[in-house]
Symmetry: D3
Subunit: 341 residues, 6 copies
Amino acid sequence: MSKKIVTMGEIMLRLSTPGYLKFEQANSFDVVYGGGEANVAVSVANYGLDAYFVTKLPKNPIGQSAINSLRQFGVHTDYIARGGERIGIYYLETGASMRPSKVVYDRAHSAIAEADVSDFDFDKIFEGADWFHFSGITPAISDKAAELTEAALKAAKKHGVTVSVDLNYRKKLWSPEKAQKVMTNLMQYVDVCIGNEEDAEKVLGFKPGETDVTKGELELEGYKNIFKAMKEKFGFKYVVTTLRESYSASDNGWSALIYDGNEFYRSRKYDIRIVDRVGGGDSFAGGLIYGLVTGQNFKDALEFAVAASALKHTIPGDFNHASLDEVMTLVKGDASGRVQR
Amino acid sequence: MSKKIVTMGEIMLRLSTPGYLKFEQANSFDVVYGGGEANVAVSVANYGLDAYFVTKLPKNPIGQSAINSLRQFGVHTDYIARGGERIGIYYLETGASMRPSKVVYDRAHSAIAEADVSDFDFDKIFEGADWFHFSGITPAISDKAAELTEAALKAAKKHGVTVSVDLNYRKKLWSPEKAQKVMTNLMQYVDVCIGNEEDAEKVLGFKPGETDVTKGELELEGYKNIFKAMKEKFGFKYVVTTLRESYSASDNGWSALIYDGNEFYRSRKYDIRIVDRVGGGDSFAGGLIYGLVTGQNFKDALEFAVAASALKHTIPGDFNHASLDEVMTLVKGDASGRVQR
Amino acid sequence: MSKKIVTMGEIMLRLSTPGYLKFEQANSFDVVYGGGEANVAVSVANYGLDAYFVTKLPKNPIGQSAINSLRQFGVHTDYIARGGERIGIYYLETGASMRPSKVVYDRAHSAIAEADVSDFDFDKIFEGADWFHFSGITPAISDKAAELTEAALKAAKKHGVTVSVDLNYRKKLWSPEKAQKVMTNLMQYVDVCIGNEEDAEKVLGFKPGETDVTKGELELEGYKNIFKAMKEKFGFKYVVTTLRESYSASDNGWSALIYDGNEFYRSRKYDIRIVDRVGGGDSFAGGLIYGLVTGQNFKDALEFAVAASALKHTIPGDFNHASLDEVMTLVKGDASGRVQR
Amino acid sequence: MSKKIVTMGEIMLRLSTPGYLKFEQANSFDVVYGGGEANVAVSVANYGLDAYFVTKLPKNPIGQSAINSLRQFGVHTDYIARGGERIGIYYLETGASMRPSKVVYDRAHSAIAEADVSDFDFDKIFEGADWFHFSGITPAISDKAAELTEAALKAAKKHGVTVSVDLNYRKKLWSPEKAQKVMTNLMQYVDVCIGNEEDAEKVLGFKPGETDVTKGELELEGYKNIFKAMKEKFGFKYVVTTLRESYSASDNGWSALIYDGNEFYRSRKYDIRIVDRVGGGDSFAGGLIYGLVTGQNFKDALEFAVAASALKHTIPGDFNHASLDEVMTLVKGDASGRVQR
Amino acid sequence: MSKKIVTMGEIMLRLSTPGYLKFEQANSFDVVYGGGEANVAVSVANYGLDAYFVTKLPKNPIGQSAINSLRQFGVHTDYIARGGERIGIYYLETGASMRPSKVVYDRAHSAIAEADVSDFDFDKIFEGADWFHFSGITPAISDKAAELTEAALKAAKKHGVTVSVDLNYRKKLWSPEKAQKVMTNLMQYVDVCIGNEEDAEKVLGFKPGETDVTKGELELEGYKNIFKAMKEKFGFKYVVTTLRESYSASDNGWSALIYDGNEFYRSRKYDIRIVDRVGGGDSFAGGLIYGLVTGQNFKDALEFAVAASALKHTIPGDFNHASLDEVMTLVKGDASGRVQR
Amino acid sequence: MSKKIVTMGEIMLRLSTPGYLKFEQANSFDVVYGGGEANVAVSVANYGLDAYFVTKLPKNPIGQSAINSLRQFGVHTDYIARGGERIGIYYLETGASMRPSKVVYDRAHSAIAEADVSDFDFDKIFEGADWFHFSGITPAISDKAAELTEAALKAAKKHGVTVSVDLNYRKKLWSPEKAQKVMTNLMQYVDVCIGNEEDAEKVLGFKPGETDVTKGELELEGYKNIFKAMKEKFGFKYVVTTLRESYSASDNGWSALIYDGNEFYRSRKYDIRIVDRVGGGDSFAGGLIYGLVTGQNFKDALEFAVAASALKHTIPGDFNHASLDEVMTLVKGDASGRVQR
């Protein structure tokens, strides 16, 4: 089933220390490329859909390598503009046990942060498109990027494209005040809203319940109230959140909750031994989009998304390389991890 | 105590992705050599016995490297024939948590699959031998290999050698029908039969009980009935199985059950954090052979085998490099993992 | 707050196998430098104190690399003597699950083992110093090193420096009889004594209680009796021990107990997924010294030390690279391991 | 300038030892994918043309990784059939000085060797195509592959596509007799023929001159006679050869000769410090095709091809990653190797 | 002989591809830290002088790692300011043969580029200093950095410190016009001026002779005229240049020329097999400073500098790790490369 | 042709820096095992002879790994004694161009240095042996090792075994006076003496000619006079030397000279691009022994030895992994380095 999925945002060079080395110990960095919406694009391409990633990258070999990485995993790169000063970078140190993973960003002045609406032909981009996904990171990286996001959303709506957002609050990029000002406006274009309690509060201004995420507790009831309020205010078709229980950097509980305006559905919960946690939320969004755009009901789509993203936590890098078969096997209940010969 | 142990089968080039990388992410493969009976040979050589591995390998540097790897770990390679087209290969991707390890075989047309009985002098091979071990994989790889296996078994019996088999059903290599036809015949030569419920059903046609291996449950009673039937039908001296509880690709429960025609004995159970699961069963067989051939009683031999193979799960590669001392320390009960200085 | 901390002992070249490889499988060794007192020096330097490490190292590039490693992590190396035959070496194989890590020492004839009191100007070294730390390893490596230790202790006391010891019994280096003879004498200079039950028995001759460390059980009452006796006999200001519950090589419980002559205080307990256990005790000593020398009360200092050393278990190498901020975050209670962006 | 270039053949998994290790020393293999026509496709894609590679690959993750590798470097993979037993493999050991590089092939029974004409829609493949390239390796791998090659050639001619061949004799794949029988027939479809003296003799039956390639001597006159005869017999538009002077495995002279039926032109000669010699000839073919298809005169095209392939010798792997700019800089004469900042 | 040497400039994170991989092939980057003046500081520290490097680095673990790298190799980091947005980065791809090494800079907005004069206490920095070195890169990175440079130079002169400059023109950082405007003014503070013909023309406006550096030719006479003019105009004590004959990226000729206002002296010339060319010029400056500040005559200092920097070309990374002994052995004439046991 | 070759000496753990890193830069060491006589044993085993290596190694996993390495490459390890304190170590830094490779020894107190004659059963060792080889290093490592060497030589002579020596003077191990005292006595047992001018002077007291080895010049006449004198004094059957012209650490000329008491024969000379120079002389000895013991005339044996050892220079590690076929191809004249497919 061919579907055209468009995502737009920043793809960064990720420099991570090998194994569990701390930054101060590293004499080499492992190199992959990743970023919220790029990760989503790879996920859906991996399941066989036609994924297009929209961004701007510098005309140098590092920018080219980011493009090559997307092509390698089946994402269409036709709409990527070239130019600008630099590619954004993030440094990653992988934690273990009670030591958290640490991300150091160096993304200011990136090509996409300084891109212009005129760099892209949105009518062409959204022609024939079925879905558009963005995250709250993109409008946060600069005022120009916020403009760009709104331009994309308007074009998407003009072409009748379904829109999803992952709220994804990043405190290093903007304040709650700024976030709410920008994002509240953008919500008018959104059909499917993904975001946890912290996102809902910081990005959209909804008061949290008693959840204390650092303690791994989950206040489902609090979520339900917020979801209803979000649905009411913005008219989302679905409101969704992942439910991460962070026992430690090595072990997490992982499930999700969806609300269709009528019913709440909580997915199966997985207990995960973590290999690489980064991109977990993006792989969830990718799975959810795959499920919904290919006609699964919202409960099946949620289970697909949770299984897909559980698998992502066991795969190094930002991208989810779990195949459709692998996700389906897990959805169907085999989590035994027995060798597949 | 010097004992001559002969094993026969295929040794393959194993190409595994580093760390937890998926195949699509790998830019290098770690290289070791391994295969059911070769792994058993290394185990018993490692405990100080005289192990001889019988196979055929191509006359090229890759075939030579396989031989060198056996020699490195103390296996005698005098009886290995050289020639044929290629060495068999298997690709391995190591799983974690709910993501299973994945094996892709490329073993057709290997030298041993196309080897002839005339490539080997079985009278010389079994002269003075104490034990012969093979697995259900060897007769499965080709009709010629099945003939070869029977020729070896006849010679072994002629020389009064004790014979063990690890049933090891491989659905990619043959159907249950074919397996049962070939293997039922070969059981007449066998003294010690190792195999789990799936093996017993697929290879020998014994109906399974209610065990659902993907759920990590164990139906000991079912095993007992099957073991009695197997003993009765084939006259085995011992019937043995490992009991793997596959909680996930990262964590397994590990124990074993033995039946001497009179009494059932279940070993201590280990909960294992898995480093490399491949070769776990082979290291069990190696441990059991070591125990029995050196005169331990069958319960002690079983405990030795389970401890040895538990350790194998913590060691990268197909081979078990746990030393006799290390196994004995664990048998004696120290599983605390405290640093040995 | 600038404090001058002096530690003295041996720094060795550590050659460890990558990943979980056994020695027999290794084709390369990872290289770091480490040793009890050097590890303590790095810890306190890392928290911003002025750490000086005293040792002797050969005048060759390997000795220089050890010095460079100390400098890299902020330790002052001005008092290190150069000369002698060789640098001590230890080989390390990292265990997992029920397979213990294994250390093979090759430290005889090292420069520090054969160093002379005249190689060092202890008056200069302890001028303005606030703290001196040594371990039971240093006097164990040779008779000359025992003399050297006493010379240092005398000078430290002359300069009014607080002294801590980590008893650290090493059975490969000396017998309990020899240890007790040497160490009992040195205890007169000590203010803060760190050591577990085994150390107390082997090094100082205190009878253990029922604790069976290989079973992961802890007999707190036994400790209390011993602590009281130690305090009474030697007049220590504080007696301290870490409490390791060794579930396996992969998972440990980790806490500590302190006695100020008046009150026993047991710290919070951490359950740790272990990355590298070596240097865990040294990072505890480093944390304790930091806490006490910067004026924390003894309970806070203990919590700081336990948190610091819990983090060390998640970091490869001998040194603790956890920053002051990272330790404080954990002390304050966030052990959730959530990604820090 | 957009051009559609089609190449067809086998892409193999290349397993090479790191550095200058011999096979017997390797504990890991570096992994890339490559093969004559695939290498050509990457070259022209790299210069900005629309390259399509036609082959068949197994439906497993290794086959997928080969496809991903082509996509990564900009080759269209739409026409690749999936199925068959295995991907062909070649093992590579990189030589130095007087020690030659060594290739061990394991390519029998590969998916493309057993592919059927019906696996491909050649009318669609050659629709709008400008150029088709194949090598003498493809028809050599099996009789079916020879049939497939002729089917492709007929379709190419039907669609008015220019055809080039690289004769590339492989003695492990077929005898001169077999080669001549198959290839002589296929020459009727060829416009541009690339091949050295050995190829001309073994593949097409032209008697060599006095050239002794192992001595690095070059008999230009001999080439001229053969080129004239080849042109006369088969009506090629251009006959071309590279001229390798193999001083050692580390240093080669590199130039080329072209004949347009009228004039012989010999290129500039480069003295190369070799990093990776494999794929050198393919990168030459890729450069030549680029030059000719984009309208360069045959002398400029030859210089482009020689410069491009000289650069390939300095790049690890089968593929030529030298950019259009890099090749043009060298064509224009800057071989100084000064750092480009 | 203890001397205080101060250098000031930018230290960057260097990300280089392993071996001869091109950027597009890299899945990891080797990590070192380096930059013109930092490299000089390491050189002189390595010879035993007291080297102080002045810069500003962000308060994050990457900035800390740069500091650690300097400390590791003996440079004093007391005067380094902390703060600012980011550390500058450069990407490096190592060339071979006719393929040049390629540098991609990402250094805009670095902490030092945006540092303020008030970040440094130049009176303290130059108290007791013997030498100050900077390069033409530092004032080029920003207007603020140019101000900073002049402030440092004024303070240096106030404290009677000898000043050297390496003109080092970087066309990506500024135009010749801008360079000349800024640098001409700074030359009043300079005693020793290092720069090649290109530098002299672009940075100081002196017309070049006939030298065509891309051809590896050297026009000594042209240099002499320029040196005289430079000396005359700015009153330098010494004018110096390295003479690089760039045969290829793998092989260079390397020598130098010095003028003391009276006499020209050309050093011995080395033919170098290049391992890593980056930092070659900086190691020359470091060697020259060492020679002159320790009282060698200018010819001996030049020979020391050329030998030191010839050795640098054989060492990976930006820093020169050749020891004083190693340089002296080469100065004394042993370039045979025989194993030193 | 089966021949029993015995060699005796020290095998060390070799720790070398990867690539061209200097010791101070290394974060890992590559691990192989090697030593003069062990290297010879591997060479002759590699050509198909029965090689036995005699040494003593500690009973720890590092000692075992050394044994495994010998077994891997076909050397019989039956006569190796186990025990003692440690395995000797040498650190290696690989040079390039004018930077020499550097070896740091840490071999004192090794098991073989402290081995006793009673550790070995020389009658059994030399039973049926054809050849015994030792080097001047073995008696140099300790007085006990010198005794051991003489005991072995006496036993060898008793069993009619041909004896060869490689004089191999090591100035770090003994003085010329000590060397001459010990070695002059041992020469009575020697049939074939290998040594260059420096060896002849330092070990046997023969005055050198004008050869200045650091200049790469060769004074053949000087050699001839010394060879005649050596033959006369000690009655050697053959006197042999390699002739290394050390242009740089990267490039050497390599040939050899033999004297049979009647005629001088100088081999073909190879110009080598060096990958790893260590073990070059040992591979020469191995080649010479192979040639002579299998009945080649002394000139052919010399050419075999020179070709074999030229190839060794292109192979990483101490051991020569060049196969019999590879050596013979080079002996027959193909040094073109063309890819072998």
